[in-house]
């Protein structure tokens, strides 16, 4: 708990006691104020303290062993990289980022190098923290992968997760609208994990199959 106490102090210094909920962000009730922390802090303040603040918040929410590696490029832009210790840590970690004023920027599901050999897949969640980018990576099994939906926390995660579900063999638990987003229902599930011909994938095969569909459509119109 010592980190939590330190974090409280750090957050108070950051926003000078302005309506911040308790330190263990992941376990607290989300703030009723629709404006994020970023909206309320004078420009530049979050960026100054972002490294310490994020590290403490994640350690508090997702476990002491959570480590964030930061890289600063030649222009001073920060990117933080964190591998979460377990899939269960995702939800509390995402809540902690939301309470720091983070905005979900992108979700990248992928099969890493030697995925079959290791039996692992990864999903990277990228968050924007006032210009800095934090990437939280969860490692999941190749078979029966499940992640909790972040859409209840970040509204814009909706499409990101729908796309994830149709392209990869991952179940997103608790998604409010798990319909296919881009792909036609005639296409196989999780085409990014199968050998699907590109023309089938894009529904653009100039073959007998396509012309059969066109002719069937004409008959229906008539």
């Amino acid at each position: 708990m010592s980190d939590c106490i330190n974090l409280t102090g750090e957050k108070e210094r950051l926003v000078e006691g302005e309506g911040i909920v308790d330190a263990c962000g992941g376990r607290s009730t989300p703030s009723a104020d629709p404006l994020s922390l970023r909206e309320r802090v004078p420009e530049g303040r979050v960026r100054d303290g972002v490294e310490g603040c994020v590290a403490a918040a994640l350690a508090c929410a997702a476990g002491e062993e959570t480590e964030v590696t930061w890289r600063r490029d030649s222009k001073g832009v920060l990117t933080g990289w964190c591998r979460l210790p377990s899939g269960e840590a995702l939800l509390p970690a995402a809540r902690a980022v939301a309470e720091l004023g983070g905005r979900l920027a992108m979700v990248t599901p992928y099969l890493p190098e030697r995925a079959q050999e290791k039996g692992e897949r990864e999903i990277a969640y990228h968050f924007d923290l006032d210009g800095a980018t934090l990437t939280l990576t969860v490692i999941l099994p190749l078979e029966w992968a499940r992640v909790p939906s972040l859409t209840p926390i970040f509204r814009n995660c909706d499409w990101q997760e729908r796309e994830l579900m149709e392209l990869y063999d991952v179940q997103v638990v608790g998604h409010p609208d798990p319909r296919r987003l881009f792909l036609d229902h005639s296409l196989p599930h999780a085409p990014f994990e199968r050998l699907v011909p590109y023309s089938t994938f894009t529904n653009a095969a100039t073959s007998k199959v396509l012309w059969d569909k066109v002719l069937a459509g004409e008959r229906e119109d008539a």
């Binding site: 920027a105 190098e113 980018t133 499409w159």
Partner: protein
């Protein structure tokens, strides 16, 4: 009041690309909206993993016509980050020039399409004529009107000769007065005010919740521009203010775009004035090692983000990108709620939607 569901396609929405909407109406007002994307899904993320990093520059340039410079330049920035390549200073400025030329043309196209959507055909023609100055400049300098083919890993593959720089400076001079006039016209003209002011309002809190980016966010007073928040290329040495409005309506979005187009003219002039001598591209490229990187840029529609993961070969393990339009579609649900059916095409076009980018 009667409840009715109608389906609108690209023709009814005055879009040049296919996107379908299922709209629930209460009387003649919009009650709810379902966006149905995927009509031009081309599996681009599947294709990029089957092409090497150099081929992907060409492929990504063909992802979308209006942001066709933002995609390859941001992708190249991600590769350069993984490999630790520092691009020459002259290349940083030349990338900014290409980006800003595309931004002016893109913003003007969006304003023109909206003028057309409300039946202001003479205004549509006038804006397209002004935009033609930029199209001609692109054609003269890059040899193409849309895809500039300006980027390579490690720098750029075009140069501005003194003649080309002076031609571009002259074109910028020609843009100033018309852009100032357009800003005043979109801000004060009673006909445009009647159609655009307080139409399609997105309150600031809703904009934060939907995580919208670009001119749509800045029209609601959200002070976020990647060029300022996460500076890249030459932008840390260029002087500009983030264009902001507060009302969050169609008029505000257009005023942000026109203010930005005017600023882009100034940014190009600054680039031409500061343009340092030197090489255009890194001499020799190192082997691209295994690694991962994030690259972001401010595309005409807002924050564009790339994630690249490599394994030491020339083929990406994963290349993922998220375009600015991706979140802006969702905000339409809030903008359209309570609006009459007749306003749907205008409001949809006011987010400057990019379907080729969204579907990929």
């Amino acid at each position: 009041m009667t409840t009715k569901i109608i389906e609108l396609g690209p023709h009814q929405l005055a879009l040049e690309e296919p996107m379908y909407f299922r709209v629930q109406l209460e009387g003649d007002r919009v009650a709810d909206l379902d966006v149905l994307p995927g009509q031009v899904h081309r599996g681009m993320e599947h294709l990029v993993m089957r092409r090497n990093l150099y081929q992907n520059i060409t492929l990504l340039e063909r992802l979308c016509s209006l942001c066709s410079n933002s995609h390859p330049s941001t992708f190249c920035a991600a590769v350069e980050d993984v490999a630790g390549i520092a691009i020459p200073e002259r290349a940083e400025y030349l990338r900014a020039v290409a980006d800003e030329i595309k931004r002016i043309a893109s913003h003007l196209f969006c304003c023109a399409v909206q003028a057309n959507a409300i039946g202001e055909v003479p205004l549509f023609r006038r804006i397209m004529e002004i935009r033609e100055i930029m199209q001609r400049a692109k054609e003269a300098i890059y040899g193409n009107r849309m895809d500039l083919a300006a980027n390579v890993i490690g720098g750029v593959r075009y140069d501005l000769t003194p003649e080309a720089a002076s031609y571009l400076a002259q074109a910028m001079e020609q843009m100033k007065k018309p852009l100032d006039q357009l800003y005043l016209q979109f801000g004060n003209n009673p006909v445009l005010m009647a159609r655009m002011a307080w139409v399609g309002v997105l309150p600031r809190e809703a904009a934060v919740e939907c995580a919208v980016v670009g001119p749509v966010a800045r029209a609601c007073g959200i002070d976020y521009d990647v060029r300022k928040k996460s500076p890249y290329g030459a932008y840390d040495r260029l002087d500009f203010k983030v264009a902001l409005q507060t009302t969050g309506d169609v008029r505000a979005r257009n005023l942000v775009r026109l203010a930005e187009a005017r600023q882009s003219v100034s940014l190009i002039e600054q680039c031409l004035a500061q343009l340092p001598a030197g090489p255009l591209c890194a001499d020799t490229l190192p082997e691209i090692p295994a690694g991962e990187a994030i690259a972001k840029s401010e595309a005409p529609r807002g924050e564009l983000m790339y994630y690249l993961r490599t394994d030491g070969s020339d083929f990406p393990v994963r290349l993922k990108w998220r375009v600015p339009s991706y979140m802006n579609w969702d905000a339409l649900k809030l903008m359209l709620k309570g609006e009459p059916v007749a306003n749907i095409p205008l409001i949809v076009n006011s987010i400057d939607p990019c379907i080729a980018c969204t579907d990929r």
